[in-house]
Symmetry: C2
Subunit: 227 residues, 2 copies
């Protein structure tokens, strides 16, 4: 399948690497292709610069947001939440219309120090902002509640005995995303929580997740819903 | 132990009933004692009026917020989040100073319909507001992430294989609350997430919890943290 991934951070790279391993054609979109390839410093988290990773993943094409979205029959939003709407605008609405858009971003605001606050919450969410700005995109919010390595390999954590959530307005899109989560990535438990307004709850969970990560000393954590 | 519980809703009643079962002396505080006892209509959730329950739990004394707080060597805040600060003011600061104050309330705002939003979040929380307003109270936030029956009997749900969180500024108070959760109520897994500012995350989890309750069709749910 042709897949576009917007964002070249750890989430975008992790999803991209998993998807080519599964045999898909992946284009990774970024704001400034030449600039991204020219980076020589480690990123914010101390990971090697992009080109080091790219040399090990040469099947993945690096392109503009527009080209990545145009390439994808399916599009992942793995951009920084604060830059998401700008990135999607740059990707162009016509390249998103009618497509399943998997939104993994969190609207985190690091400008006031750690732990970050949210740029939008309570009465709105990034997921809803995206759906409103691109009404013909079939937005499904998921995977934003865990760290990148767990997204594509949940069974490395507690044998996969933990839960992923999805929400969105388009039932068909959620069915497709559910299959991707279960069949491609190996999730055992996926709960459909409802329409895109549930993105509020999924994004507002982040402050708790960040404190859990701090208390347990690892980002390799998740929750299992029990009933 | 002498324990004061502020709030006569389902949370206050459930905790009170458990505590007398354990042999403690419980006073339940309310704004208007005569009015509460005179109620004849079922409550918001369809539970019988207070006096029906009280007739079955006669060892529990109903009193004012002031009297309940004065009675308690330990105080539970089980009031409605929107009314908590007023209730605690009515309980009087001198009756809270130096005491462990277990804050279970959530600042839910039902005025805009369902699901509720939060009255305070992101850069502040009810837990922090309480600690700021009553600086000598030893506030510990806990139990706000589940429904009342699970609070005092976690093992009825998935054999107790799920997690409770605590936060607060006073290490000794958290140790005592941890013992209450484990030894009195039967919690297997309690995670100390840090100082009272973690109340933001614990309260901001509610929108997700409410959607989970809707999706799973039951309030008898919780999450187990896996790592």
């Amino acid at each position: 399948m042709k897949i576009g991934i917007l964002g070249t951070g750890i989430v975008g790279k992790t999803i991209a690497a998993k998807l080519i391993e599964l045999g898909h054609e992946v284009t990774l979109g970024t704001r400034d292709v030449a600039g991204k390839l020219a980076e020589t410093a480690p990123d914010f988290y101390g990971n090697p610069p992009f080109n080091v990773w790219h040399a090990q993943h040469q099947q993945i094409k690096l392109a503009t947001f527009t080209e990545a979205a145009a390439h994808g029959e399916l599009v992942f939003n793995a951009t920084n939440g604060g830059a998401t709407l700008e990135a999607l605008k740059s990707a162009q609405e016509t390249n998103l219309n009618g497509k399943v858009l998997i939104d993994i971003a969190n609207p985190l605001d690091f400008s006031h120090g750690m732990p970050p606050t949210l740029l939008v919450c309570n009465t709105d969410s990034l997921g809803e902002q995206i759906q409103r700005a691109f009404p013909l995109a079939r937005v499904v919010k998921t995977l934003n509640t865990i760290s990148a390595p767990v997204m594509v390999n949940p069974r490395q954590l507690a044998g996969g005995e933990h839960t992923m959530f999805v929400c969105g307005n388009d039932a068909g899109a959620k069915t497709q995303v559910n299959e991707i989560l279960q069949d491609w990535f190996g999730w055992k438990y996926v709960i459909d929580l409802g329409d895109i307004s549930v993105a509020r709850g999924m994004e507002m969970y982040l402050p708790l997740w960040l404190r859990l990560m701090g208390a347990l000393g690892s980002p390799m954590i998740n929750v299992k819903v029990v009933k």
